[in-house]
């Protein structure tokens, strides 16, 4: 089932550290041989400063206690560099740890800088050192420290470029610490900056958006409110454009969000068109399912796709998040998805049918008869469905839903009256104004 795995396509758009959770998930799902994943992990870690972790993985991969020499050397190097950076940033760090002193800071950046310079001899060099230190901390896997320093750095920083990358760093750190609320705030802040900032080339802007969307997947599929927000973000014209041109695989997540969210009908129709149009560039069971139901009206196909969707969801690091409930572990999104998908099929099916054999219907919906009947009765009772069950023949009969011709005619002409009145009013007004002039 590795065919629908998106990790290779998502990975390049993430920070190194953010790829770890994905690899962990893959390891858990056993989609790839363990060895491959461990190797990939080492590869990842080689560029970071988490040398100890890399050593551990190396040991478990090769089942030895020996560690290659370059790793040991690297460790020494990292530690030395950490010391150096710590020293450089020390004045500012001590200042920031002093709560009394911090209270003296005000909203005015210039003032703060001036004050730091005058009273504590903390100049731009130290502030820059703080940034480097924070970055290094992040590289070492100390995310909470990095997040704190970056937050403070942003308060003091005057360079907008630096500030932006500090923001990215902060977002990554928050995501890795799983502080979803804070991460969401950071995400929105970043989004505003990206949208408002004038980039040197449109290409850079698109690239930033793509990164932002990839990073946001972590938040949206963990945050309670994420599934509506993902639609808000991804379905904006600019972002949708970016998806279509550069990262069509993100359509999977948007499609899932749409299916799970019932209240987004108007946008949904637009989205179907996007799916239809992008079928050539990206396709997976979830988008194909939508295409089956809403473009081709192939219900048998939709049913098949639905089964595949289940697999895809279980194997997707974002969609297949598990919730442990006692001894069970469930994937809440999967159940929700299936329920809604079933409803989609049924809805569309009902729209074009007058009479449906319940047996066939339930087969299409992957339900047994009893369950199905109850399901339909519930739908009818909640007045979601204008239909009756003919239990003698085992069919559902839809109520015809045709607008009356006369009603239509009345509708058409109703407006005319108002318009004529308005016209006459205008004329009279004009006629009165004329003599007065």
């Amino acid at each position: 089932m590795a065919t629908y795995d998106l990790t290779p396509r998502i990975g390049p758009n993430l920070d190194r550290h953010l790829v770890f959770p994905l690899l962990e998930f893959l390891q858990e799902r056993q989609l790839y041989p363990d060895e491959q994943i461990l190797k990939a992990k080492i590869e990842l870690l080689n560029k970071t400063n988490m040398v100890d972790y890399a050593m551990d993985i190396h040991k478990s991969l090769y089942h030895t206690d020996d560690v290659p020499q370059d790793m040991v050397e690297r460790r020494v190097e990292v530690v030395a560099r950490l010391k150096a950076l710590e020293d450089a940033a020390a004045p500012l760090v001590t200042f920031l740890q002093n709560t009394n002193a911090v209270q003296e800071l005000r909203a005015d950046k210039q003032y703060n800088l001036q004050m730091l310079n005058d009273r504590y001899q903390i100049g731009p060099d130290q502030i820059e050192a703080l940034y480097q230190y924070a970055k290094f901390q992040f590289e070492c896997g100390n995310y909470s420290g990095a997040a704190d320093y970056l937050y403070q750095y942003r308060a003091l920083c005057t360079n907008s470029e630096r500030s932006l990358s500090a923001l990215w760093g902060k977002l990554a750190a928050e995501i890795l610490m799983q502080n979803w609320d804070i991460a969401l705030e950071e995400l929105n802040r970043l989004k505003e900056i990206i949208d408002s900032k004038s980039f040197s080339s449109p290409l850079n802007q698109v690239q930033s958006r793509i990164w932002l969307m990839h990073w946001s997947l972590f938040i949206f599929f963990n945050h309670d409110n994420g599934r509506t927000q993902i639609i808000d973000l991804f379905n904006q014209d600019k972002y949708l454009n970016a998806i279509q041109t550069s990262a069509p695989h993100l359509l999977r997540y948007l499609a899932t969000a749409f299916i799970v969210n019932k209240r987004r009908r108007p946008q949904f129709k637009e989205f179907i068109k996007v799916i239809q149009q992008d079928q050539c560039s990206y396709k997976d069971p979830i988008t194909e399912f939508l295409a089956c139901v809403y473009v081709n009206y192939e219900f048998d196909g939709a049913q098949k796709k639905m089964k595949e969707c289940e697999e895809v969801i279980l194997n997707d690091p974002f969609l297949g998040k598990r919730v442990e409930e006692g001894s069970f572990s469930t994937v809440p999104l999967k159940d929700e998805f299936l329920e809604n998908a079933r409803l989609f099929i049924f809805e569309t099916y009902c729209r074009i049918h007058q009479r449906i054999d319940m047996g066939v219907l339930f087969e299409k919906l992957n339900l047994n008869y009893e369950e199905g009947e109850r399901w339909i009765v519930n739908l009818i009772r909640n007045s979601k469905l204008d239909a009756k069950i003919d239990s003698e023949t085992g069919t559902v009969i839809m109520e015809p839903n045709q607008p009356n011709v006369y009603e239509q005619l009345i509708d058409h002409t109703k407006a005319l009256q108002g318009r004529t009145y308005k016209l006459v009013g205008q004329l009279l007004e004009n006629a009165q104004a004329q003599p007065a002039r």
Binding site: D237, K238, L240, N241, Q244, T245, E270, K273, V274, Q276, Q277, C280, S281, N296, Y297, E298, D300, T348, R351, I352, H353, Q354, R355, I356, D357, V360, T393, T395, M398, P400, Q402, V405, Q408, L409, D411, H412, T413, A415, L416, R419, T420, K422, L423, Q426, L427, N430
Partner: protein, 915 residues
Amino acid sequence: MASKFWTQGGSDTEEEETDIEDEIENGGAGETTAAAAGSRYLQTNASDSDDSDGQKRVVRSAKDKRFEEMASTVDQMKNAMKINDWVSLQESFDKINKQLEKVMRVTESDRVPNLYIKCLVMLEDFLAEALANKEAKKKMSSSNHKALNAMKQKLKKNNKQYEELINKYRENPESEEEKFEDEDEDEDEDESGSELEDPSQIAAESSDEDDEGEDMDDDDADGAWEKKLSKKEKLMDREFKKDPSEITWDTVNKKFKEVVAARGRKGTGKFEQVEQLTFLTKVAKTPAQKLEILFSVISAQFDVNPGLSGHMPINVWKKCVQNMLVILDILVQYPNIVVDDMVEPDENETQKGADYDGTIRVWGNLVAFLERIDNEFFKSLQCIDPHTREYVERLRDEPLFLVLAQNVQEYLERIGDLKSAAKVALRRVELVYYKPQEVYDAMRKLAELSEDGEKDGDETKVEETRGTSAFVVTPELVSRKPTFPENSRALMDILVTLIYKSGDERTKARAMLCDIYHHALFDEFSIARDLLLMSHLQDNIQHMDVSTQILFNRAMAQVGLCAFRVGLIAEGHGCLSELYSGGRVKELLAQGVSQSRYHEKTPEQERLERRRQMPYHMHINLELLEAVHLICAMLLEVPNMAANSLDAKRKVISKTFSRLLEVSERQPFTGPPENVRDHVMAATRALCKGDFQKAFDIINSLDVWKLLRNRESVLEMLKAKIKEEALRTYLFTYCSSYDTLGLDQLTRMFDLSDAQIHSIVSKMLVNEELHASWDQPTRCIIFHDVEYSRLQALAFQLTEKLSILAESNERAVEARTGGGGLDLPLRRRDNQEYAAGTAGGGGGRWPDLSYGQGRQGSSGRAAYTGGGRPLALGQASRDRSGQSRGYSGRAGSGMRGSQMDASARMVSLNRGVRG
């Protein structure tokens, strides 16, 4: 006086050469002996130096002037003969007759000058030869052939007058000469002394030299090669009379300056100048000097071009390319030489020798030369009749140019001038983008083959250079063979990336269009579409130059064809419909001149138009284009007509198509289809009845399909589409006659699978095109009785008309009252409501669907179907009308929807135009 040279017969030149060769061997033996030995040769030199002869100057000057004119006309005639150009020959002949009158007046004698007679003889001979050569005659272009016949008549008439003299001349060509013999010898003495000092004299000499050579060409064609060689040697000989070691940078430079100064002056032969300069390159002392002279050679070669509309002679073009390659050789060999056209280099910059360390600046612009060469190539293809062998031969020169362009580009990249490199890359792109893979492969093979052929050529060249022993020997450093990647896409990618990185706006836009065209050619519709939409070329193409607009139109046409091939009918129609809306396809694609009944073009316009025509091998087949356009229109329009047959305000998808249909319906009898249009109309008639098989058979019988590469699959796709549309049309047309309709029956009727029919019908049901629903247990469609009765339909029409009336009333009032700003938004809202009402009710359902696809996501990629507005080009007045139409459309859209964002604009533009 000039006459005495001309009277000289061709036969004796042979001897003369041997004389000269003797001379060379004698080397520095002194001028006097040479003069004595080669008296006859020298006497020819004297022909123009008479001015220096003081005795009868006053009398002669007027006379001489006339004679000179005449002589130059004769020169022209000879040139014309050389390239077999009867048109200019005819002109020259008329000219010489006029000049004859003048000469007669000046000389006040009734004796016709010998020069003229000689010319007549020459012409006669040449004419006889040309008429005898049936092969060559057949190959001539029509205008040339006409001129030949006219010439035959004229000459016959004319020669009768001088019959006697001609015969006399033929008998004794040299009778006139002897008189002047002694006189000449004196002159020779003077002349040889002043040889290097007098530039004009030298120029004249060499021109005489040329003429002589050509004389011989005429007399016996077989010996042509030898003579050319000898001619060169003779030229050179002039220099070698001095000891080679005596030739210094200064003398060469001086002479070079002289020759260049003569450029453009009256009486300076263009060919001669090239010859002279070419010779100078061989004696150039330093590489920089050689380079400088080579640049001048190329400039001079460009001068040879007869006019703006004509093209450079092909052999000159080839030499020009070779010279460019030599330039590159030098530049590669001496990286310290910099070519620049911004600064005026130092006077003696080129004196610095090969071992000089610093940078040497030489004036020149490689890119400009290259572009000029490309333009000449393009022009020659425009001019040559595409159905001749000549055209094919000319096309074979393409790899030659590609080699050059490749080398220039590499050089520019090496010196870091990426902007110019991008320009050169664009030239290469423009030669490749329209080639399908097969053609590209053929070109690659040709390039490989010609490599072998060239080797032989090189050997002979080497020999030549040995003979002439150039001072600065330039090894062939740059490759003479183009390297082509396996497939053209790879090549395009490399070039296009370079251009996108460092080209200027226009270069980028053109490269983008070529890229789009190429993608479309390779059936990659979605990539081509994305490129087109993301580049926003449609928005600002109006402001670009005509040739870019043509390229845009070509790209649009190709994208349309591509969409059709991959089965996207609506998109294909969107791309092509605008192209056909004005009926000026030929003009828009620059593939011919369309004749307009109402609009007379000025000659100026016509010339302009002719100059931007595409060469034949780049054409997009118009018949195929038309077939595709009409078939797309048919597939969209027929179900649309069937669905809205009662609707008064029904939307027409393709105006062109419905007009054609009307015309064909008006005909009392319909014969068997002959052209593309007839075929499609016949198919339409069948399709209207739901007879898919017949419709497909008719379409299938078109012979344009053989132009498609994947013909089978396209036809299959087409058949499937026709079936689908036939089904839809059938359902629309006959749904009122049925209460229920079984799925099985439809399956049998339209030869489609259950699933397909179910899917198609379901789509119609969901879109509310068809008021019916499935009855699943019995597998049939149950039609709801929504087919309006006549009365109801009329009632709907009435309400629609009422609202139109109300609207026009409002507009009238507004116009009267001056349209208060307050009312406008109100009215807009009403309009929208109204529009929504009609959309919800009977009207305009199906078009909405097709437009809906235009939305395609976002502002950038929006409105594809509507977007492709090919540009009107050509006359300014027309252009303006095209523009204004665009504006009106846009204004209309503004009125209709206040909420329309940029993305919807292009769509509504079309709606505005159509509605």
